[in-house]
């Protein structure tokens, strides 16, 4: 026991030594010894990033790191009078770990703001903690309530739209194609309820009728029962709200095998035709329609330039997460570039809320009073590029889409959040 205590004391002592050893050096870089930067007045602005780098969502973390690397390479490590320092923490795709790492970023690294996390399960816990700690959180999750019923002055969703916000235009678009009846199949947890809720609300508001709604468990691997069921329905269109992982690959492959893809038109949420899925399922996804705030096949010069640069740098197309971390970086730099003193806490949050999204790769729009983007949502179609790669191209743009669609925010917020039972605003 005593040995254990002395060992612990030893570790603490060692840690203290390391800390004191580090402290002067970071002080020096601000003291004038490091003179390589032109605008070096010595202020370090520390950004903590929470990303899943291991476990099931590990691929997202890699995308974010590459997006951020490219952002720093493009925009430099210095902005205005600030030197940017980034501290990465791995959430291991787990909410408890995400919270622990958020604490570490605040208490040990003393970061000025936190970007991330990405997963909905992590987002709400971390946002709550950072609000209490008074540290700005630039969230990247799609969980609706983060900027609705649980909105916080310190939390701003810069790296995503809400799940339902990306599906509203899909419902409206489907109705405009002349589809009168629809069935939906969505993953059975908040993200799926919200994706489906967005489609159902907008589709019915535009005059359509939703006849059947199927929900599959998040861990369901074989979707054949559901696909057989969808095949037996007589509807004009099917909406798919998948989690964007193996579930959407399995859906497309099964739907193709069962002849559903040629029988009934299918439209889907942001992630069902994600680049990673197209890579896996190949040509059977050609022509598929979906809605998102990002389209790697967008021919807008700014986005196309971003995609081209990313592709030549990393050899792969940028994912939604690479795009989102880049646009988040642009918002932070926009604020820091104009700041005289170092903005922190509420002042920083307020400044970020004022950023014009037209100055970022998102293209246009602003942040609403709840901290959520009001911006363009693209109706995308999977097409084949000249080099044979499948990409989501833009076929229609819905500008200034709000997280409340065309509904009144007050009435919207008085309603319960989307669930299996509540689907129609």
């Amino acid at each position: 026991m005593i040995r254990k205590i002395s060992a612990a004391a030893g570790v603490t002592l060692a840690a203290a030594l390391v800390l004191t050893a580090c402290a002067p050096s970071s002080g020096l870089s601000g003291g004038g010894e490091a003179t390589d930067g032109p605008a070096d007045t010595g202020q370090t602005f520390k950004i903590g990033v929470l990303a899943p780098m291991t476990s099931w969502a590990g691929a997202i973390g890699v995308d974010m790191q590459q997006g951020w690397d490219m952002f720093l390479a493009d925009q430099g490590q210095e902005i205005g009078s600030f030197k940017i320092e980034t501290v990465w923490e791995d959430t291991a795709s787990d909410p408890d770990t995400a919270l622990t790492k958020a604490r570490k970023l605040v208490q040990e690294d003393h970061v000025d703001l936190v970007i991330g996390p990405v997963l909905a399960s992590e987002g709400l816990v971390v946002g709550d903690y950072l609000t209490q700690a008074g540290v700005v959180n630039l969230a990247m999750t799609a969980a609706d309530d983060l900027t609705q019923r649980l909105a916080s002055p310190m939390v701003i969703r810069t790296g995503s739209f809400t799940a339902s916000q990306m599906s509203f235009p899909v419902g409206d678009w489907a109705s405009k194609q002349g589809y009168k009846t629809a069935a939906t199949i969505c993953v059975d947890y908040a993200f799926g309820w919200e994706s489906c809720g967005g489609f159902v609300s907008a589709f019915t508001a535009a005059g359509g009728t939703v006849t059947n709604q199927l929900w599959y468990p998040g861990d369901a691997s074989d979707l054949s029962s559901y696909v057989s069921q969808l095949g037996s329905l007589d509807v004009d269109v099917i909406f798919v709200g998948s989690a964007g992982g193996t579930d959407s690959s399995n859906f497309f492959r099964t739907a193709s095998d069962f002849g559903l893809l040629t029988k009934t038109p299918i439209v889907s949420n942001c992630c069902t035709t994600d680049q990673a899925i197209l890579e896996d399922v190949g040509d059977i996804a050609l022509g598929q329609i979906s809605g998102s705030f990002y389209a790697e096949g967008n021919d807008d010069p700014v986005v196309a330039g971003f995609v081209e640069q990313y592709e030549s740098k990393f050899g792969v197309l940028p994912s939604l997460y690479s795009f989102a971390v880049y646009s988040t970086g642009q918002m932070v730099y926009d604020v820091l570039g104009k700041a005289s003193g170092k903005p922190t806490g509420q002042a920083l949050a307020d400044a970020i809320r004022g950023v014009d999204l037209g100055s970022t790769i998102i293209g246009s729009g602003s942040l609403d009073e709840y901290g959520n983007p009001v911006g363009p949502v693209f109706i995308r179609q999977v097409v084949k590029r000249a080099d044979g790669k499948l990409v989501n191209a833009v076929i229609e743009t819905y500008d200034d889409v709000s997280q409340f669609w065309t509904f009144d925010p007050k009435a919207y917020l008085a309603n319960p959040p989307f669930s299996q039972e509540f689907q129609q605003q």
């Binding site: 590990g58 059975d188 029962s225 069921q229 037996s232 492959r253 095998d257």
Partner: protein, 288 residues
């Protein structure tokens, strides 16, 4: 509910059950003889599946992919048995911890090498693809192919266990390890071969399964879970039990999702729970 739809659901249940059997058969074989809950079975699935994906992409031959997947899983199995498991033989806790450790290491290696994006064996490439159409009835050929392959493997395992000399030795080892080795059977060598066979079966399941269900580094744990459930329902160590358990769970899963969608979460685990309560040794297991 139309007849066509009913038949589709029936085949959905049987084909998913067939895949479950492929995964569970190796697991139950190894447990029956060695009394090891080999949690690395999920890792063998991953090895077989990912190598099949790579091989098929490179050579455009499904059958070569299947072969490479099975052999690679067998080789990893051989290394695990000879190099690691042998050192902790007979000590249950170290065996379980060692195999689960191997599963984690291989799953993370897969994430590191292949990334976390979904992967699968592309359809075609010599494997049956497209749909079988008879009048109103449509059914994917690949699923029928899985049922066929599983029948062949299942019958072969059953016959080998019952009628071959190796089968007799294995059965002797299952019944009484000490007596078998007293009769001059090199039980250690039998262990190794059965373990390698189990790994190869998992590799085959991986190669075939990745044409049906997209792969990710977590597929290993998912499939391991299925294997364990099937084996608990069917009875540990029994091939017949694994076959019945797998088809039963496949059918319950397919029909519950349609008839009682609100119970979709329990389709796999409810049968297991019931069996554990009313017949803890499993449907075809022998009471301990």
């Amino acid at each position: 509910m139309s007849g066509v739809f009913l038949l589709q659901q029936l085949l959905n249940g049987i084909s998913f059950g067939a895949l479950l059997f492929l995964i569970a058969s190796g697991f139950t074989l190894v447990f029956g003889l060695m009394r090891i809950s080999n949690l690395a079975h999920g890792a063998f699935y991953l090895v077989g599946a990912y190598l099949a994906v790579v091989t098929v992409a490179a050579t455009h031959s499904f059958w070569l992919g299947l072969l490479v997947g099975a052999v690679a899983a067998a080789v990893v199995g051989l290394g695990l048995e000879r190099g690691l498991l042998r050192r902790v033989r007979g000590r249950e806790m170290p065996e379980v911890l060692l195999t689960v450790g191997v599963l984690f290491v291989i799953a993370d290696l897969v994430l590191w090498i292949f990334g976390g994006d979904p992967k699968s064996v592309n359809s075609g490439n010599g494997a049956p693809s497209g749909a079988l159409v008879i009048g109103d009835f449509t059914y994917p050929q690949y699923r029928l192919f899985i049922i066929g392959v599983t029948l062949v493997i299942g019958v072969a395992l059953f016959l080998a266990q019952r009628y071959s000399k190796f089968g007799a030795i294995v059965r002797a080892g299952v019944d009484n390890r000490e007596a078998a080795s007293a009769l001059g059977i090199d039980i250690d060598r039998v262990f190794t071969w059965v373990f390698v066979l189990g790994a190869a079966l998992a590799g085959i399941a991986g190669a075939i399964g990745s044409g049906l269900l997209s792969l990710s580094p977590t597929s290993g744990t998912e499939m391991l879970l299925y294997a364990m459930v099937v084996v608990i329902v069917g009875g540990l160590g029994s091939i017949t039990g694994a076959a019945v358990g797998a088809v039963l769970i496949g059918l319950i899963d397919a029909f519950t999702k349609v008839l009682f969608p609100e119970f979709a979460y329990f389709t796999i685990f409810a049968p297991m729970g019931l069996v554990l309560v009313f017949r803890p040794q499993g449907l075809f297991g022998r009471a301990a």
